[in-house]
């Protein structure tokens, strides 16, 4: 009898202790508790590169704290873990004040975010390139503030091209296939086209090609994923590896960074779709590779489209953090900050003032000319966040020898429409 009483007491005590611990864990990072303005904000930033991200944001933190007197708790997270960590933060109520992610619409749809009217100075908003304001606008309000952008273009190895007897970059898909065949024919491990359709970033690879075949994911508010143009595009991408055999082995299982890019960096790939950070790597680390950059070849004989990507700095509605968040944006978008950061990481600007600042950089010219007309994915639709994940996970199966591109797109269209 007595023994059980003791056990009861022990269990009760332990339970209380653990509950106290747990509640500490839940409320420790949040700053919502007190009234009035917050004394600190939590800023979660994606790690774009090991070398530059921390350097810039540490300096930014110092400036911000000096200017505002608000403490900035900086957390830099690797892209691979970012989604998991941000999702866990929100699930456990440990919401950051500012979050840097590649999607925002789902957060806006959940009613978690401040819109630009609440936190972005009018002059700053006016400086942001209209194409990015549009892609950051959900339901008529601007929630997804762009932090930087990148645009893709065709990189080709000029040594391999001259060895294959090709004098200029392809401008049509027929030329592209022919050139890729010539490069592959050199042998000795040469690959015509390095095609990354593995889970890492497959939606980008697919988007680049379908935009240059008159296709799109969404047109006039309607999903057009299984359109004729898109189906032809995916079939073409599949044929490159299965029929023409001009790609590296198993494109559906090849990621971009450690697969396609590394083949190009080793001088093995004739062509790859790249962006300015790849250019940076080629100019500093892999200087043996002679290359040039050209607009994407097109399948429909129209003018080449430039596929662009932007990431976002969104801010979460929390009691008393509005002024601190506003000060954050004001500082971030000041030319001395944002341009330093974009230059260090080798990306492209998102502001008109940034365009003016970088326009004389010969390396960026090929991208900057197209930036105001850049073609983006429908990131303003929360459903896209799931479509993107499906493409990443499953497109590799559709381009496998036994894959069915048309069925994959039909399923994707059905998924998108069901989400509405």
């Amino acid at each position: 009898m007595k023994k059980s009483v003791r056990w009861g007491a022990i269990v009760a005590a332990a339970a209380i202790t653990s509950m106290t611990l747990a509640s500490c864990g839940a409320s420790g990072g949040s700053t919502t508790a007190k009234s009035g303005d917050v004394k600190s904000i939590k800023v979660v930033i994606a790690e774009y590169s090991k070398d530059h991200t921390k350097t810039f944001w540490d300096a930014f933190t110092k400036t911000y704290e000096k200017q505002t007197g608000v403490k900035l708790n900086l957390q830099i997270i690797n892209w691979n873990d970012l989604d998991q960590q941000s999702s866990t933060m929100i699930q456990t109520g440990n919401v950051p004040d500012i979050l840097n992610e590649n999607a925002y619409a789902s957060y806006a749809a959940d009613g978690l975010l401040y819109s630009a009217d609440e936190v972005l100075p009018a002059a700053t908003k006016a400086d942001i390139i209209p194409a990015f304001v549009k892609s950051g606008t959900y339901n008529g309000k601007f929630y997804g503030m762009p932090d930087l952008s990148s645009a893709r273009a065709l990189f080709y190895n000029t040594d391999l091209f001259s060895a294959a007897g090709i004098s200029k970059a392809p401008t049509t898909w027929d030329e592209f296939t022919a050139d890729a065949k010539k490069v592959t024919a050199i042998g000795n491990g040469a690959v015509g086209y390095a095609q990354p359709l593995g889970p890492e970033e497959a939606q980008a690879e697919f988007a680049i090609w379908l935009f240059n075949n008159g296709g799109d994911f969404k047109k006039n508010g309607k999903w057009t994923i299984n359109s004729k143009q898109n189906a032809a595009t995916l079939q073409y991408l599949k044929d490159l590896s299965v029929k023409d055999k001009v790609t590296q082995n198993n494109p559906g299982g090849t990621n971009r960074t450690d697969g396609a890019f590394s083949l190009f960096e080793q001088g093995k790939a004739g062509m790859v779709v790249g962006f300015s950070p790849l250019q940076g790597a080629l100019d500093t680390q892999y200087t043996g590779v002679k290359y040039a950059i050209a607009p994407m070849p097109t399948g429909d004989n129209a003018a080449p489209q430039t596929y662009g990507v932007t990431d976002y700095l969104m801010s979460f509605k929390k009691k008393g953090n509005q002024d601190a968040v506003k000060a954050f944006y004001k500082l971030y978008y000041s030319p001395s900050q944002i341009n330093t950061w974009i230059k260090a990481e080798g990306f492209l600007p998102v502001t008109t003032s940034g365009l003016a600042k970088f326009k004389d950089d010969p390396k960026l010219k090929v991208y900057l000319d197209t930036l105001p007309n850049i073609h983006l994915t429908p990131t303003d639709d929360p459903e896209w966040d799931k479509i993107k994940l499906t493409i990443q996970q499953n497109i590799g199966l559709a381009v496998a020898p036994n894959g069915d591109p048309k069925k994959f797109l039909d399923d994707l269209q059905a998924q998108a429409e069901a989400g509405k």
């Binding site: 989604d83 789902s106 090849t254 996970q393």
Partner: protein, 306 residues
Amino acid sequence: MGGRSRRQRRARGTASVAEALLWLGPALVLIVGIVLYPAITLVATSFGTYSITGLRKGDAGTSNYTNFLTSPDLPRVIGNTGIWVGAVVVLTVLIGLALAQFLSKEFVGRRFVRWAVIVPWASALVISSQLFKLIYDYYHGVLNQLLLSLHIIQKPIDWLGDNHFTMASMVAVGVFVSVPFTAYLLVAGLNAIPADVYEAARIDGGSPWQIYRRITLPLLRPAILIGVVLNLIYVFNSFPVIWILNGSNPGFGNDTLITYMYKLAFRSAQHDVGLSAAAGVFNVLIILIAVGVYLRLVNWREGKEA
């Protein structure tokens, strides 16, 4: 009288509640904090509806469970898990038995070999897996280069990307990282067998194979039992090997329940922590049942008496 008996009891070592708490407290806090609290949270999460952002939208009832159990990828994933756990555990124990026999003999350089066997155990799973990813690489991997230069194969094999080889390649790594622990467990088991039993067997004229089967194996039974149960749990829960080696493959064709659970939460189109939590509860039940069935099959209690 009462006072004396009480003092006697205390002298025998019965502590007061406060004393007991003081000693048990840290362990209990750990158990409640690290085991019980997350388990309760897991179950609670599995009954919630979550947005893709991680925001709880409301109660889901049992829909997460029905959605998980009816998902079209599940049979394949369960099949993969069976092959993965079965193959790795069986091969690990067999190789572990052979290796333990070898390591328990005296020979020149034994200390060296013992150290070498520990290395894969001492290095982090993530590092070993990354290393194997490089070894298996289609274009630059050492394995293909070796086999090509020995003319065993005519063209490179896509060890991780070709579905015929992916699981076997992962199993090989799983065995590689599990063998050291198992081998050492069995070495300890072998050392615990008294030498005079062997002597008696030899005097009675037993052949080496007879001695191994009739004496060594039965006496090793407790060690093998522990080795199998611990490996079942470790291998089932093993995340890094499959996550890294299968990392660039599309779909769920080579996933086990553990990596599938992670993908459901953060990578798949569902991107649903509620669904993933239901998968987590399912996984715990599966491994409990698997261990229970195994112990039942080998007559655990009998084994303990032997």
